[in-house]
Symmetry: C2
Subunit: 393 residues, 2 copies
């Protein structure tokens, strides 16, 4: 009875914000999408040539403040290339959160390296820099040729935090830990386009970062991603490696590396340009929606609405409710009830160290990750939902 | 003087077919492209969900006669997945032509395997089954757990012919060689959508095959590819592995393999549906153009127009001139002259065993490949060029 009543109360709070059935995240195409896509079709430039890729890259660099952006076929490809170019090698370990979408770990695997799972902070839902530091103090050894995990003998190739649901991790503190242990910082910013840490855009703190424009993201290109970096050499190498490593020539086919076919097609970039023009508006709408949810769940029993940290201005990509540990048994009932009622909700990803494919990988103790894995519920987050709210301050 | 005169004669023959400047291959969007793409934008289904991907797959299967088609992000991804699912393993060798686009070899590399380069036939520009057979007689040993290269000790994972410029290799003979040596046959059909071997569509002879819909191909999806197979289990596995290996569930994220983000976005599939509707017309136009070129180059000195083999009905994706060995010194002058005049031409790919990245790989003697590498010139091939020709019989 208690369970049922509490679940119904949560449904009621959601309904106070959402006036109709809602999916988790739907894109909005109310700008120049038609115009730009039609131009691709009319000119025949839909593929690897055409002006929208360069234009999209320039717009992304300008918006994020990164020196360079390289558009690619999706966020997974962006992560893969970031790791390869940052020097991740076969049999390295790469420090990543366990609480992330599987692509973060898969990109590590594509390099022939192993994910080494690190703990999350309840405050950011992302990497906990303090716990990472004490873990590294126990296991890491800085040698002339790299930082090693002395318990496994493997080199540590990089640290790759992910900004969960758009909420930035504590980047200053994390960057300092990386510096101290001489580790490359790469950001998995797949979910955090439009999110800032102390006024600076996520994805611009490490050597490079990966964005995603999948259909459920804050902006979409159908499928797509990008690499951000402040390093021209890194950007040039990324462009080269993602376009089959072909050397420029009028007609000869000479490839000087084993490259990838990871370029973003022009038609998808055209969509991206139109979407990016609207991003500031989307973020405002999404922050308004978050404000409404926050109010609706103020004082709710057993559950809180996840709000950005004081250092953050989040895009609130996916809004999240966090159940109290004592209310974990409510989760599946809430998921059932809300989805039945047409309000789409879902839990967070299964923590990756619990998947058989990654359960043998090195890791820290992960009690917060495991707890969050049972307690997070994502709720509808499309821009335009819950109109009438005022934005998060 | 002889060189100049012969180059000018070739330019003159090209001009007799092409009435205006022409690129090598431009797509044509005169069907339902805008209608279908606009529907994606209007409904918001541009990405991983939406009906065009399934529709495109069904249309591809019907057109090619393959039991199943799985749409993916590009031809390279299709090749990669075909090899993985056919059992290509780390340190295997995969038999591929040296005369192919670098993607064929790169896909082998992504599996951790090594390309083993095989010779081409002057008649098909693709794998020479007779030479492959004598090579295998020298080096191959069929053991209980696979066929091995006894000179290197490595297992041979598969044979992957590529149908150069759309012209089928001698598939019956090649398939027989594969059977005799118990080798998996996978077809790189990236260039041969619409091409048949003895009335049966290329890409349906081996365990599976890879198609490409890059912007320069006979139909385009911006960027895209597909896997064809007659094996339902293979197709299901391909779909699973290309969509992050996520198990179906209402909301849980469980991935049971290290999968890939290789799915084709719905907006690209929409373009593909519209293009595929027009494919029979494109092929007719391209075969007409080939007929005009063939006539124009009949009796030309030192050069021949490459025509399909008697067993083939080719899509004539890229038309090709083949210089006589004694005229190799003409090639660069012809390339200069034609490109200067706005008639885009290019040589064939640098044979892969000549690229430093692949020069250390095992291989046969490759005199025909090396000779063709110096003698092939591709000429403008877009559907709609040279109107007024009658199709190749």
């Amino acid at each position: 009875m208690r369970k049922r009543a509490e679940s119904l109360a949560i449904l009621q709070s959601l309904r106070s914000v959402l006036t109709e059935p809602a999916v988790l995240h739907a894109p909005s195409f109310e700008g120049n999408e038609w115009l730009y896509v039609k131009e691709c079709l009319d000119t025949g430039w839909v593929s690897s040539a055409g002006s929208y890729v360069e234009r999209f890259e320039a717009m992304l660099a300008k918006y994020t403040g990164a020196r360079r952006a390289v558009a690619v076929v999706n966020g997974t490809a962006a992560l893969h290339i970031c790791m390869l170019l940052a020097g991740v090698k076969k049999n390295d370990e790469v420090l990543i959160p366990s609480l992330t979408f599987v692509a973060t770990a898969n990109a590590v695997s594509y390099c022939g390296a192993l994910p080494h799972f690190i703990e999350c902070a309840e405050e950011s839902l992302g990497v906990d820099p303090a716990k990472l530091e004490s873990h590294l103090q126990r296991i890491a050894e800085v040698r002339a040729d790299g930082t090693y995990n002395r318990t496994t003998g493997r080199r540590i190739g990089a640290v790759v935090p992910m900004h969960t649901f758009g909420h930035p991790v504590d980047l200053d503190t994390l960057a300092e830990v990386c510096r101290r242990f001489q580790l490359e910082l790469l950001e998995d910013a797949a979910e955090s386009l439009g999110s800032c840490y102390k006024g600076r855009h996520t994805g611009t703190f490490g050597r490079a970062s990966a964005l995603s424009f999948n259909g459920n993201k804050v902006i979409t290109t159908g499928g797509g991603g990008a690499i951000l970096t402040n390093d021209d050499e890194f950007a040039d190498a990324a462009k080269h490696l993602t376009t089959t490593a072909k050397l420029p020539h009028r007609w000869e086919f000479v490839h000087d590396l084993i490259g990838y076919n990871y370029r973003m097609p022009n038609i998808n970039a055209a969509l991206g340009c139109a979407q990016l023009e609207q991003l500031p508006g989307f973020i405002e709408q999404k922050r308004s929606l978050a404000g409404l949810y926050r109010t609706a769940f103020e004082g709710a029993a057993g559950v809180r609405f996840f709000s950005e940290a004081p250092y953050a201005r989040s895009n609130y990509w996916l809004n999240a409710l966090i159940l109290e540990e004592s209310r974990v048994d409510l989760r599946d009932e809430i998921l059932e009830l809300t989805n039945q009622e047409g309000i789409m909700t879902r839990p967070v990803w299964t923590p990756l160290h619990l998947l058989p494919i990654y359960s043998g990988c090195p890791r820290m103790e992960l009690p917060v990750t495991e707890s969050l894995g049972r307690r997070v519920i994502n709720i509808p987050s499309s821009p335009g939902l819950g109109k009438g709210g005022s934005p998060c301050p």
